[in-house]
């Protein structure tokens, strides 16, 4: 018995079975189609952009949405084409995807896994979305990725940095372009060693949830490998707003580096608090005291204002990169919206292009065909240099940027400067690396 597990509204909407008031009990319509969820009709294809529109990450979500709209414009042949011109694969020609015009629906993840799944399900069930993308936290990414696996659609993760997304929680239908905790650690460690020496004592403050754990582990292991010592690692509650009681003891703990494994609002507050306590000017063990933020977000760094100056961190992409792809993207984004794009905007734009390209190369919207086309796909020209979408865990491998907060930013967008572009070899790991252990990709699910 084959059931229609998820509706295929897209067909009806576009192909419009106008059977003039005739009751058509279309039970088990699966065979009538290509055999996968939400197979699009002949004229248009619907993508689901699921981003945080309310809650603390709403601005990041808004930037992602801008990038998606830009990507759709470019895919449909509008605008200046952005990174379509610099992308190494030339399959996309600005006529939509496989000749179908790209349409999209939007939803609000609220940065809650429940709400994100509800929103994604409505896109799949109601709007007939063939692919879901977006999100601004790992919890949401992992939750929606599992849902897409179950529903039989492709999930192109947005901003998600936890190892788990392509580690223990990886799924065959899910793909991540963004980098991860391990890569941050691997990229940061040598730069930190070069700048601060190998004889350092680190104190970690870690957000008490999955992403925090994986980031702490990654930074700890890669810095310890270089000779650093970890003095202490303290977990801080997600809902904490005032970190003073966690930061006050740091200076007297024997540590001379503070690592803030925090993101978003947590990062803004803990960094602001740390600077208030004078840690940046302080001396410890005869050295200058230093602060490190493993994952930087320029949007969020804005909230910390001048406090970011001189502080090292890593980022997936930055608009000041000089390669042709980055420049093309920054130009078309900046022209349309009047300010440079964030790394969240970049990764979501790239993910949309990569999906469209994979469909075109596969010649089918079937998620299994798309997944096959994405797996071990090598490309260039999308802002991160030569990149591999590894088939074993659906993680992109590319250069990682180590950045530093600018001392004298010229404007509110010019907060970070690139210190080093860590080459991809240095951040590559084996699929069965212990930090990514457990879980299995499974097999791709095309739905009913």
């Amino acid at each position: 018995m084959s059931n229609s597990k998820f509706s295929r509204r897209g067909v009806l909407k576009t192909g419009m079975v106008a059977s003039a008031g005739l009751a058509l009990p279309q039970y088990l319509r699966a065979d009538a189609h290509a055999g996968f969820t939400n197979a699009p009709g002949d004229s248009e294809v619907i993508l689901g952009f699921n981003v945080p529109q309310t809650g603390p990450y709403a601005d990041e979500g808004a930037d992602e949405l801008r990038a998606y709209e830009l990507a759709v414009e470019h895919l449909n042949g509008g605008g200046d084409g952005g990174m379509l011109g610099t992308f190494s694969s030339k399959a996309l020609d600005g006529t939509g995807i496989l000749g179908r015009e790209v349409k999209y629906v939007t939803g609000d993840t609220q940065t809650k896994s429940d709400a994100a799944r509800a929103s994604a399900r409505s896109m799949i069930e109601k709007d007939g979305a063939i692919m879901i993308t977006g999100g601004s936290s790992s919890g949401v990414a992992v939750a929606v990725q599992a849902l897409c696996q179950e529903a039989g659609v492709i999930f192109m993760a947005g901003l998600t940095h936890s190892n788990d997304t392509t580690g223990k929680d990886k799924r065959a239908n899910g793909f991540r372009h963004f980098f991860n905790s391990y890569m941050s650690g691997a990229a940061l460690a040598p730069v930190l060693a070069a700048n601060y020496g190998t004889d350092r004592k680190a104190y970690h403050l870690t957000a008490d949830y999955n992403w925090g754990y994986t980031t702490e582990e990654a930074v700890k292991s890669s810095t310890e490998a270089m000779g650093w010592e970890t003095v202490n690692a303290v977990k801080t509650p997600l809902t904490q707003t005032d970190f003073s009681s966690y930061i006050a003891p740091v200076l007297n703990s024997g540590a001379d580096v503070l690592v803030l494994n925090h993101y978003g609002g947590n990062m803004v507050n803990s960094l602001t608090n740390a600077v208030q306590f004078g840690l940046r000017e302080a001396q410890a063990n005869g050295k200058n005291f230093e602060i490190v933020v493993p994952l930087y977000s320029r949007l969020m760094a804005r909230g910390a204002g001048a406090n970011v100056a001189g502080i090292f961190g890593s980022t997936n992409w930055h608009w000041s990169l000089q390669d042709a792809g980055s420049q093309a993207f920054t130009r078309s984004f900046g022209t349309k919206y009047g300010f440079p794009p964030s790394q969240a905007a970049h990764t979501t734009y790239v993910q949309t292009l990569l999906y469209a390209d994979a469909v075109t190369r596969a010649g089918s919207f079937n998620p299994c065909a798309v997944a096959e086309a994405l797996e071990d796909f090598e490309f260039d020209g999308l802002g991160n240099g030569p990149t591999l979408y590894r088939g074993a865990d659906h993680q992109c491998f590319k250069d990682v940027l180590v950045v530093k907060g600018k001392e004298n930013p010229e404007n509110e967008f010019d907060l970070l400067e690139i210190v080093e572009v860590t080459p991809v070899e240095q951040v590559t790991y084996a699929p069965d690396h212990p930090q990514f252990a457990g879980g299995a990709l499974g097999t791709c699910n095309p739905g009913a």
Partner: protein
């Protein structure tokens, strides 16, 4: 020992923030009996008075600088604050630097006005309504205020630094004979602490030593009788609401440099402030203040890494755990009055 002193200091500082927020809430909630879910929004509005002030002070006009280019390669438009034109750059910078203290002056009338409008326009009609209705209407109001702020200022936190004179920390350790850096505390947090104490003292003095305060206290105890005496208690309650809003707002203004304000900071503090008020005991101002300090200090101790190592997760739940223990051992919190919101 030094760690211990450090966390007490920390707890006092945290506690003063809690006490100040709870004080405003308890004026409305514990004494007027209105379940005010919009109190957090008032706190947030206070912080955004500071944000607005610094935006106003840096209100700029654009000057094209041909020598530099922006990220798209066009000539750079440099923003020049009007205040530079009026006072010159040096004085202008000082004024901008002092935006937060300046906004305290602005916050008092603004917040009192907001409080008046809220009370006269909305809350007044809900004194006699069931608490359920009060919850719904104030929650709705809180969402609306929050969304308007989000619409105007975005969702991200906005840095609102303290004057540069207050940057850095005071080293208590040296003063007390410990190693340097053992007990340091940021100047601005010390300012916050003393500011809070000052406001709390002022509110108490106001209620204790003025006729107005006496009437209001009598009105809290027995509204009808005071009404019978021909005293217009409603008008006084409106003023009380204004004062409560001002206290919440001042708490917010001063908090802005500690954590960059964002539109949902009110909601983040809302639950906590309710817990503080109730643990302090309904209808008791000293109770709210005491509970604020108690929870602040305990929270600080719970965040010490030795404590967390011993009891993982204790820092996550300490406030709630303490609230449960206190409410189970003392039926009306620390200093609650009998019969206030017990039904």
């Amino acid at each position: 020992m030094d760690q211990f002193i450090l966390q007490i200091l920390n707890g006092l500082d945290k506690g003063s923030a809690y006490a100040l927020i709870a004080l405003g809430l308890t004026l409305i909630f514990g004494t007027l009996g209105v379940v005010n879910f919009a109190h957090g929004a008032l706190f947030m509005l206070g912080a955004f008075v500071a944000v607005t002030m610094s935006k106003l002070l840096t209100l700029s006009h654009k000057v094209v600088d041909e020598t530099r280019t922006d990220f798209l390669g066009n000539p750079l438009q440099v923003e020049v604050p009007y205040i530079y034109d009026w006072f010159g750059q040096a004085t202008g910078d000082v004024i901008i630097d002092w935006a937060v203290p300046i906004s305290i002056i602005a916050a008092i009338p603004v917040m009192i006005a907001i409080g008046f409008i809220m009370e006269r326009g909305l809350i007044k009609h809900f004194y006699k309504r069931p608490h359920a209705d009060q919850i719904l209407v104030t929650f709705g109001l809180a969402i609306v205020i929050q969304e308007i702020v989000k619409y105007l200022y975005g969702a991200n936190p906005i840095p609102t630094p303290a004057p540069s004179a207050f940057v850095g920390s005071f080293d208590f350790g040296v003063a007390l004979g410990f190693d340097p850096n053992a007990i340091i505390y940021p100047y601005w947090r010390l300012v916050y602490f003393f500011f809070s104490i000052g406001i709390i003292a002022a509110v108490f003095a106001f209620l204790q030593f003025t006729t107005f305060g006496m009437v209001v206290r009598a009105g809290m105890a027995d509204r009808e009788t005071v009404g019978l005496l021909g005293i217009d208690i409603d008008k006084r309650f409106t003023i009380m609401f204004g004062i409560a809003a001002a206290v919440a707002g001042l708490a917010g203004v001063m908090y802005a440099p500690i954590n960059s304000p964002n539109y949902h900071m009110g909601m983040d503090f809302l639950v906590l402030s309710f817990v503080v008020v109730v643990v302090g005991g309904m209808g008791s101002l000293p109770g709210a203040v005491a509970a604020g300090f108690l929870l602040g200090i305990l929270e600080s101790f719970a965040s010490m890494s030795a404590v967390i190592d011993f009891l993982p997760g204790i820092n996550q739940i300490i406030i709630y755990l303490v609230a449960i223990i206190i409410l189970l051992t003392r039926p009306r919190g620390l200093m609650g009055r009998k019969g206030v919101m017990e039904e």
